[in-house]
């Protein structure tokens, strides 16, 4: 293996990988980024994460660390000379861990239901998703960030979903900003930090990736669509499959 002291095995649209990228950027750590093909996993990935075979994996001086929240904490503890990501007070730190754990347990799984379920179950998934976001919004409250004045661990855990919001909104035909304006305000505040704005891909790019992935997985026969627009209003949108929404212009 090459001489890089810090290597990140990752996949660009992954909100979990983005957490690690933000943490590395906050600390100003130089690293080698290795894009992974998840349909054809590299020997390196399989060697470094044999249990889950998933990204992200951080390799530091040849030793792997897996699980995004665990990696972020490792980064904070190892490069502890600047930009602390964890609160210094133990009880506030426990709260930060609690909220990152809440995001991990609730946000991804529920968002997945939005694009895999149909009919009433899909509507219920949307409601559940909004409820979860409202709980998170409530926790932030009037504070600039989750735990107060400083951007940190709990913010990192959630903000990477922000670039996926457009995709969820499009699939679910709803507006997260309308339901949770303060949450969006918090996300935009986080986006003012270079570590976040330079890490999160453009929302439309994420949506295009999602459509491409769904097509490849055979969920939509794109031959029957004359033209797909990824932009524009929600009017005239059609559900071709339970998990996909495309805008069709004939």
């Amino acid at each position: 293996m090459g001489g890089s002291e810090v290597v990140l095995l990752d996949f660009w649209p992954s909100m979990f990988g983005m957490r690690v990228r933000i943490a590395l950027a906050e600390k100003g750590i130089e690293y080698e980024y290795k894009e992974q093909d998840l349909g054809n996993k590299s020997p390196l990935l399989l060697e470094m994460n044999p249990i889950h075979k998933k990204i992200p994996v951080l390799i530091h001086k040849g030793k792997p660390i897996s699980e995004s929240c665990i990696i972020v904490q490792y980064i904070d503890e190892t490069w502890n000379d600047k930009s602390p990501l964890m609160p210094s007070d133990p009880s506030v730190r426990a709260q930060a861990r609690f909220w990152a754990d809440y995001v991990d347990k609730k946000v991804y799984e529920t968002s997945k239901k939005i694009w895999t379920l149909k009919g009433e179950e899909h509507e219920n998934a949307k409601k559940e998703f909004i409820e979860i976001l409202k709980v998170l919004e409530g926790q932030i409250g009037e504070k600039p960030y989750f735990m107060g004045e400083s951007f940190g661990y709990a913010d990192i855990a959630l903000v990477t979903f922000y670039c996926w919001f457009y995709t969820f909104e499009t699939l679910g035909n709803f507006s997260i900003e309308k339901e949770c304006p303060k949450l969006i305000a918090w996300a935009k505040r986080c986006m003012q930090r270079e570590s976040v704005s330079k890490t999160l891909p453009d929302s439309k790019k994420i949506y295009d990736f999602f459509i491409e992935m769904k097509t490849k997985l055979g969920h939509v026969d794109m031959r029957h669509v004359l033209k797909v627009e990824s932009f524009g209003s929600f009017e005239g949108d059609v559900f071709l499959e339970p998990c996909q929404l495309v805008r069709i212009r004939y």
Binding site: I51, H60, K63, I65, S66, E67, I70, I71, Q73, Y74, E77, T78, P90, S91, R93, A94, Q95, R97, F98, D101, Y102, V135
Partner: protein, 215 residues
């Protein structure tokens, strides 16, 4: 000023047990408040409004929830016997295995038990247990000579699993497939800091017989 430590729990909960073991390791005195889970107290709902679950640790009036978050908090605040390794990479490894136990191992075991020993479900659970078997690497505990976060996370496997297996009449954690893990279970439940937190086996088995409809 003396610390005021209260634990809202339920005798028989493996998650509450994790916290009690951590408190015992640090030698912390605490008040245990038994919750009626079918009629949760106003206090519990106030201190854990998000999940409304036990265990909740109250330390000098501040609530902390989620058993593994609580265990890390205990290690952060009270010095003495370490629960997490001090080396950053070893700490990350311990957190990884604790998460694996919670996210993969225990749900797979629950599924095997819930299916009353259906072959596929048992095979999947055993696949996860095999990772733990390998991770023990000839050590007495996941923490080496002493228990650490990983051992504490696996409390359910050490004691509750055996009770459920007996109640249903199936075996998931078999001695021939998992000799190291079987020995680990024995060593773990005999630790002084663990012993007193466990409810009597007859009560556990009776509970599971009722739960799995095998009375």
């Amino acid at each position: 000023m003396a610390d005021e430590v209260k634990l809202y729990g339920f005798r028989g909960s493996p998650y509450g047990c994790r916290v009690e073991i951590a408190l015992n390791l640090k030698g912390i005195e605490y008040e245990f408040i038994q919750e009626d889970l079918s009629d949760k107290s106003a206090d519990l709902i106030k201190y854990n409004p998000v999940h409304k679950k036990i265990p909740v640790l109250m330390h000098n009036g501040k609530p902390i929830s989620e058993s593994l978050v609580v265990v890390e908090y205990i290690d952060d605040v009270w010095k003495g016997v370490p629960i997490l390794p001090r080396d950053a990479h070893e700490k990350a490894r311990a957190r990884f295995w604790a998460k694996f136990i919670d996210d993969k191992c225990i749900p797979a075991v629950f599924k095997a038990l819930g299916s009353h020993g259906q072959e596929q479900a048992v095979a999947e659970a055993q696949e996860q247990l095999q990772f733990l078997e390998n991770e023990l690497k000839g050590n007495k505990f996941f923490g080496g000579d002493n228990i650490n976060l990983v051992d504490i996370s696996a409390t359910y496997l050490a004691y509750w699993l055996g009770g459920a297996e007996e109640a249903i009449g199936i075996k998931v954690l078999t001695k021939d497939k998992f000799p190291k893990l079987t020995e680990w279970c024995e060593n773990f439940v005999n630790c002084q800091t663990v012993k007193d937190t466990l409810i009597p086996r007859e009560i556990l088995v009776a509970f599971y017989k009722k739960r799995f409809g095998k009375a």
